[in-house]
Amino acid sequence: MRTKSVITFFLSIVALLLLVGCNTTVTEKVTIEFWHNYSEGDGQIQVLETLITEFEAANPDIVVEHVYMEWSALKDSVVLGSSTSVLPDVLRGDIAFIPQFQSLNVLVKMSDFEDYDTVAATVLAAPNSSNKMGDDFYGIAANTNTKILFYNETLLNAASVSVPTTLDEVWTAASALTSGQVIGMVEPWTGIWNVGPYIWSEGGDVLSPDNTTAEGYINSQIVVDVIQTLADLYAEGSLAGPSMNPGATGDTDGWAAGTYALQLDGPWRESSCIAAGINYQAIPLPAGSHGSVSVLGGEDFMQFKSSDEAHQAAAWEFIKFMISEHAQVEMAKVGQMPVNLDALENAEAIAALPLLPVFAEALQTAKARPVIPQWSEVENIIATKVAEAITGQKAVQTALDEAATEIDALLAD
């Protein structure tokens, strides 16, 4: 009796499996997985889903599944997935991810695709240069942004401070605006993403032109003077930031509360100011002695080696759709600055992004951070040492000399 029931049990399992196996009929649809951090709050996810529906209608044999992850989770997921090959087919992530992911050896060399050059010619060259390592491209630009000087017009008028026209005037304005609860300027971090524009606008640099040495560059007199200015502002209370001082208010909260008056920031500052009802204005970073050089940001599309040929081809089709004029204009309407050359001149895009002309002007002179595999470690070293210098723990020259030594040791490895 017992044996009979066991045999019946196993036979039924086999039958079930056969039925299931037969049911997966050949549908030939390729499902690609797309990881991104488009924000829900700005309506970007909705536009993405509309675009995906349009793409699937035009390409009936491709299905796109999109997965949202926030910025750091996106990076961590790729790090975790790189050893287990649990990776997406296409990812839209920060341009800073390219060298990091390349050091994990997971990115597809997209310049190997036949039509890469023709497609790359339809997008802005400067943002696309963030994908270039050596002579090869490991991604393609998705959208771009840079940082411009936002100011709280109400606070400036209340303190009778005129809008700064040079970089030195920015510092005096920050001092003049600080009184009572108001703090002149906020800088959320101390990496090159934050202090790079000030250094470059005064003619300094972080690494040698061939990105092999830091000695003589990150600790040059120009950089020391810039960081000393920031340290003096911090000491008198005109500069604050949560990474330099964990007790300080975060930048978004501070803007909403009317605490911060000036910030060099990207397009997301505009949407948060509108949401908080702040009377804001924005201008390109006022020029230092060597012009107005802001830092290039943005996102790139990347593909991964773990995908097979069919998935890589389908993902490439999806990417080409997402950087076509139509998709870029639709994304522009929800705050994503386009890289497509035609989209940049599209009337609808310009109407949707009122600060587009200001950003476009800043983008012409914006500089990208070095695209080297060790860049994120280099920037962490700089952020730590600059924070030590600004908060007064170490003398500026000492901190920057230590940074140069550590970076050189890292790059020599």
């Binding site: 050091s103 997971v106 964990p246 208010t249 605490t259």
Partner: protein, 306 residues
């Protein structure tokens, strides 16, 4: 006779099989999720461990250990962790014992008091850390109270802005959150102290303080040791309060070993370094535990009755 021996033998085999069946799943689980990762990590600490796609890890011997021991930030992290452990563990225990003695002595509302003290223990670390962050922020509740309400100081103090002030805030959080747990465990131990010893001391005319030091304390020695070991291990494993209150900032001055390890693993992708750091910490915890056991074994227990 022979049939009896056969029956006994058969019974024994079936029992053995049952024991293995019960023991094996739990043992496999612990092996897979505790022993295997520990051994793997020990191996990892001797390699320049790469996790990239088809990347090979190279053997580097003791280089990771040398990197950790010569890294000034790792020194800061270990220092901060040791300070945290040395301060929070005794303070928690003393306050917990004090509260336990008080609660043990009351008859009415003891459940309410126990609940009130235990509530911080069961609250989420993240929630209370965020609360403390809002209290200790430069424009937070504490400064508002000191500057605007009681007007004790004129300028707000940056509680979280510098290393030692931030560490004080973190330690305060750790102590506040742990008192309830200490109280509960000490309460159980206090209730196990034999009442006849107190009565005997009453006849001898002992004061309350003498009763505490000569009867209560010696009787809860085992519990004290247990709590000491648990709290020490827990103190070395601090992560959430530091991550939420300061994120290790400013400039990695308030890092503890776990936050520094997290940073090295996920931001800098230095897996070998982090593995070496965790082995070093494990060694430190083992040494600390041995010291604690050694200290408690040295004192000769004077007999005070059965």
């Amino acid at each position: 006779m022979i049939s009896q021996a056969v029956i006994k033998h058969k019974k024994k085999r079936r029992t053995n099989w049952r024991i293995w069946a019960i023991f094996l799943p739990g043992f496999l689980f612990v092996t897979a999720f505790t022993f295997y990762p520990m051994i793997k990590m020990f191996v990892m600490s001797f390699f320049d461990w790469k996790i990239g796609f088809q990347q090979v890890s190279t053997f580097v011997g003791l280089r990771n250990y040398i990197d950790v021991l010569s890294d000034p930030t790792a020194h800061i992290a270990i220092e901060n962790t040791l300070v945290y452990a040395v301060v929070t563990v005794p303070v928690q225990m003393i306050l917990g014992l004090f509260v336990a003695v008080l609660v043990n002595g009351i008859r009415k509302y003891s459940v309410s008091f126990r609940l009130a003290y235990y509530l911080p223990v069961i609250t989420s670390w993240v929630v209370v850390a965020l609360l403390f962050r809002y209290i200790f922020a430069t424009s937070g509740l504490l400064n508002y109270f000191l500057v605007d309400t009681i007007k004790l100081i004129s300028e707000p103090i940056g509680w979280l802005s510098t290393r030692w002030a931030a560490l004080c805030a973190i330690m305060l959080l750790g102590i506040w959150k742990g008192i309830g747990w200490n109280m509960i465990v000490f309460l159980a131990a206090l209730q196990a102290v034999p009442k006849d010893q107190y009565e005997a001391s009453d006849i001898d005319g002992a004061s309350r303080i003498q009763k505490f030091f000569y009867i209560t304390l010696p009787n809860i020695k085992g519990t004290t040791l247990f709590i000491l070991v648990m709290l020490t291990i827990g103190a070395f494993n601090t992560y959430t309060p530091v991550a939420v209150l300061t994120a290790g900032n400013p400039a990695h001055q308030t890092e503890v070993v776990l936050t520094w390890m997290y940073f090295q693993t996920f931001s800098a992708l230095n897996f070998g370094y982090s593995a070496a750091l965790s082995i070093i910490i494990t060694a430190l915890i083992v040494i600390a535990t041995i010291i604690v056991f050694g200290l408690s074994a040295k004192k000769k227990v004077t007999h005070y009755g059965k």
